[in-house]
Symmetry: C2
Subunit: 341 residues, 2 copies
């Protein structure tokens, strides 16, 4: 065990089937970083970093951060708690880089023990909920096309936060009777959000995610008071310490590995949210099945799943957790249970 782990990184060029556009903009091409940790016996643990410019990351900052973290790789991959603490102490922020390493350590440990990660965590994969599938911002014609293409998914998540929100909602509701949830990605003012509440009700929306900018906690509380549907914080909630200030202001929190930087922190966030009676959602970035699968392993503990990042890709370089027919299905191989396509 004296021999430290070694790290390799590789840039993945991902392309979505359609340009993926949200309130802050969008595009078709995404670069993520595939991290491989290898032990002396040749076991490998894999993880994926999904740089988010909203959180100050690019593929280049992620690779640079990974180089820094590689200086503090553990000799023993089981030593995850202290290793993650060291990484965060050596370089803060850079959550997606740390999430990739966290995923890789958990993958490696599961492979060494020969058991899937969900099993190490004591979870029943049959408890994984259904996942939404996201319809990004687009023209009415292309939105109708996307709704058709999403035929297999029973729950749609709609990106809003534009001047055309009512039109978008109407286009989608005219095209389908499915359950729809809305994500405004911080795109509304309090006034706009309050004005949208009856519209959301009219179109039968069941969940409203992040209507306001991250710091507007009082505004979120105002919206939650007025809304008949659950309001979920995403950009307002990165790690577990962000949860207590949100209590009373929202009905739930959205956990993303790219925000919290650690699978262990994700489990801690679930514990904190539950102690406060909050709903728990897990979300993702545009990423391959590698990153999606890491998050999928804790879906048996959550209420709302939005893990469509890989399903939106034209070509997914990995085979792992799937959301075929909208149902999260966990792979039963050891660790994360992934293979390269």
């Amino acid at each position: 065990m004296a021999q430290p782990l070694t790290m390799e990184t590789e840039c993945l060029e991902l392309r979505t089937r359609h340009p993926f556009i949200i309130a802050r903009g969008g595009r078709s091409e995404y670069r993520t970083i595939w991290v491989r940790l290898r032990d002396a016996d040749g076991h490998e643990g894999w993880g994926e970093a999904t740089p988010s410019s909203f959180y100050g990351e690019t593929a280049e900052t992620v690779r640079a951060a990974l180089e820094r973290y590689a200086g503090a790789l553990p000799a023993d991959p089981f030593d995850i708690e202290e290793t993650e603490r060291r990484w965060e102490a050596s370089l803060r922020i850079n959550a997606s880089a740390r999430a990739a390493l966290s995923g890789a350590l958990h993958d490696l440990v599961g492979k060494r023990l020969g058991v899937p990660l969900y099993r190490l965590w004591g979870l029943d994969p049959a408890k994984a909920p259904r996942s939404t599938f996201t319809i990004g911002l687009d023209t009415p014609e292309r939105i109708r096309l996307k709704v058709q293409e999403a035929a297999e998914y029973p729950i749609l998540k709609i990106k809003l936060g534009t001047e055309r929100d009512v039109e978008i909602l109407r286009t989608i509701r005219d095209a389908t009777d499915k359950e729809i949830r809305v994500d405004a990605n911080c795109g509304w003012t309090l006034k706009q959000a309050v004005a949208m509440l009856p519209v959301l009700q009219e179109f039968g929306v069941t969940v409203l995610e992040q209507p306001l900018p991250p710091d507007q906690i009082a505004g979120l509380a105002e919206i939650s008071r007025r809304a008949a549907i659950p309001v979920v914080a995403d950009e307002s909630c990165r790690t577990a310490v962000d949860i207590p200030p949100l209590v009373g202001a929202v009905d739930g929190i959205n956990i993303k590995l790219a925000k919290c930087g650690s699978l262990r922190e994700a489990l801690r966030m679930i514990a904190v949210a539950r102690a406060h009676g909050l709903m728990v959602m897990v979300g993702c970035m545009i990423e391959s099945s590698l990153g999606i699968t890491a998050a999928a392993h804790f879906t048996p503990l959550v209420d709302i799943v939005d893990l469509d990042g890989a399903a939106l890709l034209a070509r997914d370089p990995f085979v792992g957790a799937t959301i075929a027919g909208g149902q999260v299905a966990l792979p039963d191989g050891p660790g994360l249970g992934l293979r390269k396509r």
Copy 2:
């Protein structure tokens, strides 16, 4: 995996070296229940239930509750999350019975995988803090004797909550320069507690545990405001949902498996406490090394350890985690790492 686990229970008759007396009374003889779960391959997982009359339990209620829970043993010992949920749904309260089963499942999983529980949890055993050793209520002469007998322990925990508290503190402080912490076990009124604060300061006490009855949260807040030392909630805090109402009222919480009923719940409580910036303590009942060891496995995550339950015994039927010299030392065998003496 289709064959369900089987359960056996056995009553352990434990005797403390001295009668162990706290504010609510005390005695020398304690009965705990040794729980053994066995899988089809003959692997065994062990746990210990320590009935607490304060929480409505006797050895008989524990055995009866265990019989009920045995009707919902999992076919797969890895399926812990849902199993614990089922147990709690089938019969509430009875935390020490559920804690024994939780410990036994974790022991069995660790043994099947061939790794110590702390390692499954990603923890570094070298981070385990030192444990206090408790001096129960007694006459000045016998207290002096106990302090002598506790020579190897660098930190003493003193039970108070009597008419003779100042005398007890003085007796101990006259006998030793060691760090001392105080546990009033709900034994004071707010007025008494406020009057005791300068006395605790005079004698150099470093931690004050549960000065008031469980429900007196406002009183705890008043004491915390006035106290120069951390105030820790024990009887006021059983499970994770008890923590949010204590935020601002105390500086830390004391986790006991006999209160929270689950090793997983203990980890969740740590996450919740940390998200609120609270200190975390782990405590115990009078119990053998079997129960102590289950709690010892998560000590790398806590600040304050009081796991002297087995060290107070005249004869400990198990060999597991130890607190020799006051340092928590985790066994490195698989699962809980215990053996029968």
